[in-house]
Amino acid sequence: MGVVFWKELADHFSSRRFMILLAIIVLTGVWAIYASGQSIRQEAEGIPTDFVFLLLLTSQSGGLLSLATFIGLLGPLVGIMLGFDAISGEYARGTLSRVLSQPIYRDSLINGKFLAGLATVAILWASILLLVIGLGITLVGFPPNAEELWRMLIFTLVGIFYVGFWLALALLFSLLFQRTVTAALGSLAIWLFLAIFAPLIAQVVAGFIVPNPSTAEELTRQADIASIISRISPSTLFGESVSILLNPTARLLGMALPEQTQGILLTPLALGQSLLLILPQVTTLFALVAVCFGISYIKFMRSEIRA
């Protein structure tokens, strides 16, 4: 498996596709951080000086998306681009039967490919993180504290799982469809559906279940149902996790009644408490990756290799 892993990793890093991805991500990342850094500096008096680095990641400025949102949007693309031709590409080139007639276990090929994809994602992600810290230090003038570092690290881990899901999905599609183009389009369709249409559909369904909410209770119930349904989408799961992780003062997901928020102190949560809050989301994300990869694994082990 090690051999497959290193070969795939080398392939990813030397591919033109990866260069383009890296360029896009680095350029937009630098721009987003720079823009938010500038605006933070301008308004520095009004903002608590805790967690400036987290603010760098989450604050929107100049009509630009925050880096966190931006990564949530680009992440799926990275995953799909790294995975969509994993198996179908080997089919198309006619290399699959040659590789599988070597004395390796069949799963080492698919495991190696998946892990190489994940490693690529991890390296991308880590470089963005370092970029944020580096730029942040020059912009803000002091290094991040331990709490911020931990939160950013966990944000990175969750992000890797998130992209991992799309990688696993693309891998599955590349196995189901022997044509590379079909695999790519299939994964993109799922991405569009989950990222854009799932929240809309959730709204509509919630509207059906609780029609014409008039009281506050009904309103929150409708919002709750909508958010539960939209949690099918890993994009929602990731978004929620990020919003808690990178904003220590956040202590609730979704809507809350005024009675529920009464008496809440606006002090930041401890890291452990924030983690507890997003544990279900992160677990689900992890489970989605596992399920998706599991299906590909079983399918691949049983398939007949003709080309």
Partner: protein
């Protein structure tokens, strides 16, 4: 001599299609076996089952004493497989492609490099080793494929249509390579093809498969008579000079069943070898013998006959 590849009633069904039907195959150690059949006869399916890339519906296969379904790794360690149209990683060089395969076979780095240099030379690609495979012609890719199969130093090599779509010169080179592997390195070779004359040139034994069934297998030179059950003696006779009345006298020779006139001669259907009698008759008549050729059906004709029936 022992059987390196042996199958017993090997069967593969795809829903309602029987791709391979109770196939019994035997390839002895050190021989070159030609697996012949028209397109879609089940050659590739059989090969995939021998390698454990496809599971048989019924029956058994043994390769080097291992069951490819149960112990695929043991089989794959010993068997090199060259698929039809072998694909390579196009953006890698020939050397890198071979190196990857060598590493998958757990060949240590230095040893792998040494082997690759030797093999590239052996297949005549020593000057192209550092070029990306995307620049290779089809014949070169096929030769690179052979080099790749040899990287693991196999005992048995299975090739699927190794000469498909290659120009005559390339075919000759590949056939020479294959013969060399067998003679000089003692590698058992099984190759599938639908081109009889190529197989006839280099194989010791052949098997003909049609519609998933093995119709016949045996030595190339003995196969013709084996299929025809009883051996017939057919000759083409051509003589020089005035041959008046020769035809009637030919008919009177015992053993000649029928005499068919041909341009400049006769075609004789016989029950025994009548050549001595014919030669003495011709010389007695004072004629010169131009030609007395055995006209036994060739393997080609037999092969075509089965193809048409299929």
């Amino acid at each position: 001599m022992s059987a390196v590849i042996e199958t017993a009633r090997l069967t593969k069904r795809y829903r309602d299609l029987v791709a391979v039907n109770e196939l019994n195959l035997k390839v002895e150690e050190g021989e070159t076996f030609g697996f012949l059949g028209p397109n879609g006869a089940g050659k590739t399916t059989t090969i995939l089952m021998l390698l454990g890339l496809s599971e048989p519906t019924d029956g058994h296969a043994f390769v080097c004493g291992f069951d490819p379904t149960r112990q695929p790794l043991e089989v794959k360690k010993r068997v090199g497989y060259l698929p039809e149209n072998p694909g390579f990683y196009e953006d890698l060089t020939a050397r890198e492609n071979l190196f990857y395969i060598a590493r998958l076979n757990r060949v240590p780095r230095t040893e792998a490099n040494r082997r690759i240099t030797r093999l590239l030379e052996q297949v005549g690609l020593n000057n192209d080793g550092d070029r990306p495979v995307s620049e290779f012609s089809r014949g070169m890719k096929q030769r690179l494929g052979i080099a790749e199969v040899l990287v693991k130093e196999p005992k048995v090599v299975i090739m699927d249509e190794p000469t498909l779509g290659i120009d005559p010169d390339g075919v000759t080179r590949i056939l020479e390579l294959i013969t060399g592997l067998n003679r000089e390195h003692g590698i058992t070779i099984m190759l599938s093809s639908h081109l009889l004359h190529q197989v006839q040139q280099i194989c010791h034994r052949i098997g003909i498969i049609v519609k998933g069934r093995m119709i016949v297998q045996g030595d190339v030179d003995k196969l013709g008579s084996a299929i025809l059950k009883e051996r017939r003696w057919n000759f083409l006779l051509e003589v020089g000079g005035k041959a008046d009345g020769l035809e009637a006298e030919l008919r009177s020779i015992s053993g000649i069943a029928e005499v068919e006139p041909r341009v400049g001669g006769w075609f004789l259907h016989c029950t025994v070898d009548v050549r001595p009698a014919v030669v003495s008759l011709v010389s007695r008549k004072g004629l010169s013998l131009l030609q007395l050729r055995s006209e036994d059906p060739t393997l080609e004709e037999i092969y075509l006959k089965y193809f048409r029936e299929a």
